[in-house]
């Protein structure tokens, strides 16, 4: 008879908890008993080689795929994310690699696409422009010349910034970014990494999928590695070095000891 089992304080409860998640496509087991925690105010990097299941896991969280088994907990409550609308209702926004921006529309129009504000049956452009400007300013996206310029005229980093701003505009709590720095130059990459840090400083949970270890070590608070559909390790970033992450990605294990580490599989 002891009081050792104290209830976990609400603050330490991760925003999103994935437990024993399975997903297969025909005979291919894409995800196998995956456990993952995404806490608020932290950047979690999800690494893995091609075909490790990073995109499938992302799409299960974003509501594009339905997991076969397992449970997802949102703020401690079990949830079923059936489609993209369910995900955005919870506060999950995904920025895909192709960004899904319409080149011919301007920044404001892209940020409000599908959720336009309407007054008397007509688009309320003034109020949308004001809100978009506020969001961009709060993320300190200041390099765009005008928020009324078409997205076609933006650089790669600016496009990424617009896609992120579009995602955080809707009071989202979790932003998932798929390869945000792929195809970007040095300066552009720095812009995007700074933006990711700013999202964390706002208290959002961020999950970044990336191959680029340099970028990962710059922004990640914790690192999770998928290997052939299994989540082989999740720990704080200081528990890894580049070589150990590469070991996990390519072999599913590592003999290197960098810091205190708990292997999950």
């Amino acid at each position: 008879m002891t009081a050792a089992v104290a209830p976990t304080p609400a603050t330490s409860e991760p925003l999103l908890k994935i437990r024993e998640l399975d997903k297969h496509f025909g005979p291919v087991q894409a995800l196998y008993h995956v456990n993952l925690d995404l806490p608020l105010g932290q950047v979690t990097a999800l690494c893995g080689d091609n075909g490790a299941g990073k995109t499938v896991l992302t799409k299960c969280v974003a509501g594009i795929y339905q997991p076969d088994h397992g449970q997802v907990y949102w703020e401690g409550h079990p949830v079923h994310i059936r489609n993209a609308r369910d995900a955005s209702r919870l506060g999950i926004e995904t920025v895909y690699q192709d960004l899904a921006l319409a080149d011919n529309l301007d920044i404001v129009q892209n940020m409000f696409l599908g959720r336009e504000r309407v007054r008397y049956g007509l688009l309320d452009e003034d109020s949308m422009e004001r809100a978009a400007a506020e969001t961009l300013a709060s993320l300190r996206v200041t390099t765009v010349r005008s928020i009324r310029q078409p997205v076609a005229s933006l650089s790669g980093g600016q496009r990424q910034s617009v896609a992120v701003a579009k995602a955080v505009m809707w009071n989202s709590k979790l932003v998932i970014m798929d390869e945000p720095t792929a195809a970007l130059g040095v300066v552009q990459t720095k812009q995007v990494l700074d933006l990711i840090k700013r999202l964390r400083d706002r208290g959002l949970a961020v999950m970044v999928i990336s191959h680029n270890l340099t970028d990962i070590f710059q922004v990640a608070d914790q690192i999770a590695v998928l290997y052939l559909g299994r989540l082989v390790v999740q720990d704080k970033a200081s528990a890894f070095d580049r070589q150990s992450v590469v070991d996990y990605m390519t072999t599913g294990g590592s003999s290197r000891i960098v810091g205190a580490r708990t292997e999950t599989n």
């Binding site: 696409l113 599908g114 959720r115 007509l122 003034d126 200041t142 390099t143 010349r145 933006l154």
Partner: protein, 449 residues
Amino acid sequence: MARAQKPTDVSGVPPEEAPDLTAAPQAAQAEVPPELVAQSLGQYARAWVSRIRAGESGVLPVIVAMAVIMLVFTAKSPVFLSPVNLVNLFQQSAVFMVLAMAEGFALVLGEIDLSVGFVGACGAAITVQLVQPLTTNWPWWAAIAAGLLFCAVFGAIQGTLITRLRLPSFIVTLAGYLIANGLFLYILLLGPFSGYPNLAGFSNNLHVIYFLMWGSIDPNLSWVLAAIAVLLLGGWMWISDHRRRTSGLVAPPASLTLIKVGLIAVVAIVVVAICNTNRASLGTLEGVPWVIPIVLGVLVVWTILLQRTKYGRYVYAIGGNPEAARRAGINLPLIRTVAFALCSFTAGIGILLYASLLGGMSNNLQGGQYVLYAVAAAVIGGTSLFGGRGKPLHGVLGGLVIGGIYNGMFLLGLTVEWEYIVTGLVLLGAVTIDSLSRRGAASGSVTRV
């Protein structure tokens, strides 16, 4: 007036101080619409010139084309600029304008509708048949509604096949072209008119359809209506720009708004003055033809729909990036099907005007040629064949160019083969400009990634 304006940069930092981290700021600058970054008229003009150099020419080619047409035909034929002929030109162009606005719905989606000519012809033939006093004798409004309803349903069926069965719009509307052609001939042969139901005769309903093209508004009333239209449009432009300027949103300089309103007023005055000249050789024939307010009405309604409503925004989004639209939760099949229905509906209005111009309907109508004119007019006006870009106004400007060529070549006594060849060359030129400016934009983006 421009001195108190706030910078448009979202950070509140003047654009010169904010570092532009793009690798090719020159190229980026070229693609920004000048009204977005210019604070004064001079800056606006400079930005405009740099955009034209970069291949983003906007409506400039169409203005140049109009000037060339006017100069060439005026030099060759003194009649070209006479009020009689100019009003005639407006009337002929009206058909091209409305058909081009119809085709615009398909083009902005990145699709094409080859059936506009004959689907519109079916609608017009239905209307002309229904108002005949000898047979059905429907009231004019019911007959017009029935004709346009037929067009909308035909378009909706084509749209459904294209979106639900994922058939290519090119093939579906090519089939629709043939089917509508057959239906058109069938409808013409109904009743005791030997295939030529016409609008001559003593019936109020016939007169209304005939007057769509040939009726004129009283000259004094024309001035009053034109003044009201300019005041409403100009006032609305000024108020909305002014409100955006005072609340620090992106807005053109006040002088530019005034110039735009002034230009509209000048165009209105010139048009009304031309139309109010007596253009009959015997008796009086003066006043603005009804067709001008009809075309303007179509222009205003479709512009509001495409530029100011959610529906229009989604049409552009689908034309620009269908995948982005789908992820934004937009119902793609519905939006596209409605666009095809609106395309055919507008085509119905266009060919109804043609029927009125002709004073009846006959199997002489070149439905296939009208499709090409419609596409040509839209593209010449600045609508992109590749989707995502284009406005109803482009159809009106392009229609005026096609109408000018059509009219001028007729005046010169050139035969129809030359008309085909010149129109074909103009279409080629317009598509080349469209394609080049698109390639310029694309290569610009690549250098800046």
